[in-house]
Amino acid sequence: MNRNDLGPMAVDRRDFLKFTGGGIAVFVTLKDHDLFKEALEQQRGYPSDFNAYLRIGEDGRVTVLSGKIEMGQGVETSLAQEAAEELRVPLGSIDMVMGDTDVCVWDAGTWGSLTTRVFGPALRRAAAEAHSVLLDLAAERLHVPRARLKAENGVVTVVGGQGRVTYGELAKGQKIQRTVRGKVEPRDVKDFTVMGTSPKRFDRIDKVTGKAKYAGDIRVPGMLRARLLRPPAHGATLKSVDTKAAEAVPGVVVVNQDGLVAVLHEDRDTADRALGMIRANWDTPQSTVDDTNIWSHFLQVAPTGRTAHEAGSLDAGARASTKVFEHTYYDGYVAHAPMEPHTSLAHAEGDHITVWSSTQSPFGDQRRIAGTLRIDESKVRVITPYVGGGFGGKSAGQQALEAARLSWITKKPVQVMWTREEEFFYDTFHAAALMKVRSGIDAAGKVQLWDYNVYMAGTRGSEVLYDVPNVSVVSHSSRDAHFFATGPWRAPGANDNTLARECQMDIMAAAAGMDPLEFRLKNATDPRLRSVLEAVAKLSDWKAGAAPTGRGYGIACGLDAESYVAHVAKVAVDKASGEVKVEGMWCAQEMGIVVNPEGATMQMEGCITQGLGYPLMEHIRFRGGDILDKNFNTYRIPRFSDLPEIHTVLVKNDGLAPKGGGEPAIVCIGAVIANAIFDACGSRVFTMPFTPEEVLAGISKPTGA
């Protein structure tokens, strides 16, 4: 069964009582486990009560309940693999229910590549516990000692003897609720039969036939489609509004309450037309800050900063260095631009409300909706159908609040589906950033000094990674520095910190006259880092030589979500125009135990392809709160013609629990392309996206050292 077959209202509150009533339900709390300590720090607010993780029904089917959501990353399938592995059931007997606040485990949100790192281990323990309960029941039923029993494919049999019983038979008539105390250990990697394989994705047929349901595909009889009045720029205030003409359109409902001005109609075209009839006057603040001078604005408003990493002393580092390099790297604002715009359908009925939402944080939406409507959270149910891409951008839930308010006011089911222009306007952009580095090497080519200040990107990915004795990493961040919303964007900030570190390493390697791979290995003892560098060198058939060789190969490495990555890029630079074409990308990733190698590979490919955008073509143009790029006609994202050949390899490390895979492979793309450009033509680029002008300027005036 696909979870979409549950239909909009199939599992209501009463059904859920039944739902956990029969069979065997397994509850987990994370807080008792040391195992989850670190994870919990990253998942603040995890409730300390027990949550139902899975249930074995009287029909033998297993329902896995997860507050995580499926937005393309494939966790619907990989989480089912983890449960199937521990339970010893066929993958096909698992039903996933995800992102439904009425029935699923509370969860802060699907981001930070935490699903596999935090939810996965808890789910495996719940499943291992269920397996143990089933063996107990079978021992009783078959009158044999538990030690003689073996479970496989949802059936318990007696080893070397007679008797068998299915999970369904064992669960029948039971009302067992078990709580995981961490006594039962999950299976060892050498025994895996389902984890570590690449079964076909659960969503594949629905997604190629148009049957897969996203928030915009949910229909409730009588629903209205809403369009909202939007300001011309962030910071603008509404002076006056005249909705008379819109009100005259047959079937149009106009809402004008507490700053919320909207037109609603049963068809979207008419709502669009009615919105165009509203006359509004705005006070719009003017600003001289735009996408070309935002960085000097940052330096003016930036707070003093917070030290993230520190070692030795900068003075000692400077004294030990024979060459010192100072550079500043820049990045602009970048949009998430998921193909599915933010969409929600809210249905208020009596004192409660149901909201189907395109969200990475159903429980966050629930909390905000309850707060806004001033009702108890138990009166708000958020259901998350498939999400059409998120990348961090579907975490704020603004559209869910809008739909909820409109439904609450009109007492009708209301769909809010943002236009692409609204999507660009209200996107929580990847923040623009700048990174200042002062670094030094000694005569032997060892890095002695790393003096780093990052503005607005935060500290993710700012670890030095290499063996540098004298380090200072200081982060200066302030949300007030921006004229519009910013937020997490696939590996937030790590793209910027990795750009600065890996470009700086290349500059130092070139100054030392060393091959950039050799230079990195000389300065790295971390075995995981070395393993991905060596693997990508092998995969790409890396030819040693001090850059620039004229061949157009670059290398970079990084750490994100506890996974290590290294990339090699091959670019062609047109020396007359400065145009850059990425021809090849090689990527090695080490992510501990790999739950689903094919799924992990798809994420790496997705990171690489999407990742071509931020260094080469994507940035939001704006003036103050006025967003100038509002659709794909001017905001260019990677397309088929940008696609290089892509080669990937997963570096085996079964000694480590599974680590994140949705984001790591995007963090190096800026750096690896910059380094490949340098190798191709001797031009160092510092400002993302790298423009042909910057590339050309660097050819005529090398800035390497």
Partner: protein, 154 residues
């Protein structure tokens, strides 16, 4: 301006009473209850809303409903023959040529029409034929491979 529009939708005779100025995308999604054609940009720039009109791919987000009078409209829902998926659908599914899946209906229909015009495209013909369809998840590599595999079977 209400009009009566007669056309064939996924092989079925269909009659529609509506304002002919409305966009085909919203008519298909609201009035006819389909979910395959998606809204992505509204200005013919992304391809998520792609459907076939008389076999040609059109961006339904900007296509006036009145223009489908007398035509044959095919959406992703109409591509399979009963339970039997079209080879493109099979190859997309088996090769993981999607992630979030939001661009997939449009991708498959665009590829379908590409293969109708050119049953054995080279890789660069696939790239230029598909270049106006956007995918934010970065499934491009596998989409190209799925189209090649489907072409080899057709």
């Amino acid at each position: 301006m209400r009009a009566t529009i007669h056309f064939r939708l996924n092989g079925r005779d269909t009659t529609l009473e509506t304002d002919g100025n409305r966009r085909l995308l919203w008519v298909l999604r609201s009035d006819l209850g389909l979910t395959g054609p998606k809204f992505g940009c509204g200005i013919t720039q992304c391809g998520a809303c792609t459907v076939l009109v008389n076999g040609n791919p059109v961006r339904s987000c900007q296509y006036p409903a009145s223009d489908i009078e007398g035509t044959e409209v095919t959406t992703i829902e109409g591509l399979a023959k009963g339970d039997e998926l079209h080879p493109l659908q099979e190859e997309f599914a088996d090769r993981g040529a999607f992630q979030c899946g939001y661009c997939t209906s449009g991708m498959i229909l665009e590829a379908y029409s590409l293969l109708q015009r050119n049953p054995h495209p080279t890789r660069s013909q696939i790239v230029s034929g598909m270049n106006r369809n956007l995918c934010r998840c970065g499934a491009h590599k596998r989409i190209v491979e799925a189209i090649e595999a489907a072409a080899a079977r057709l």
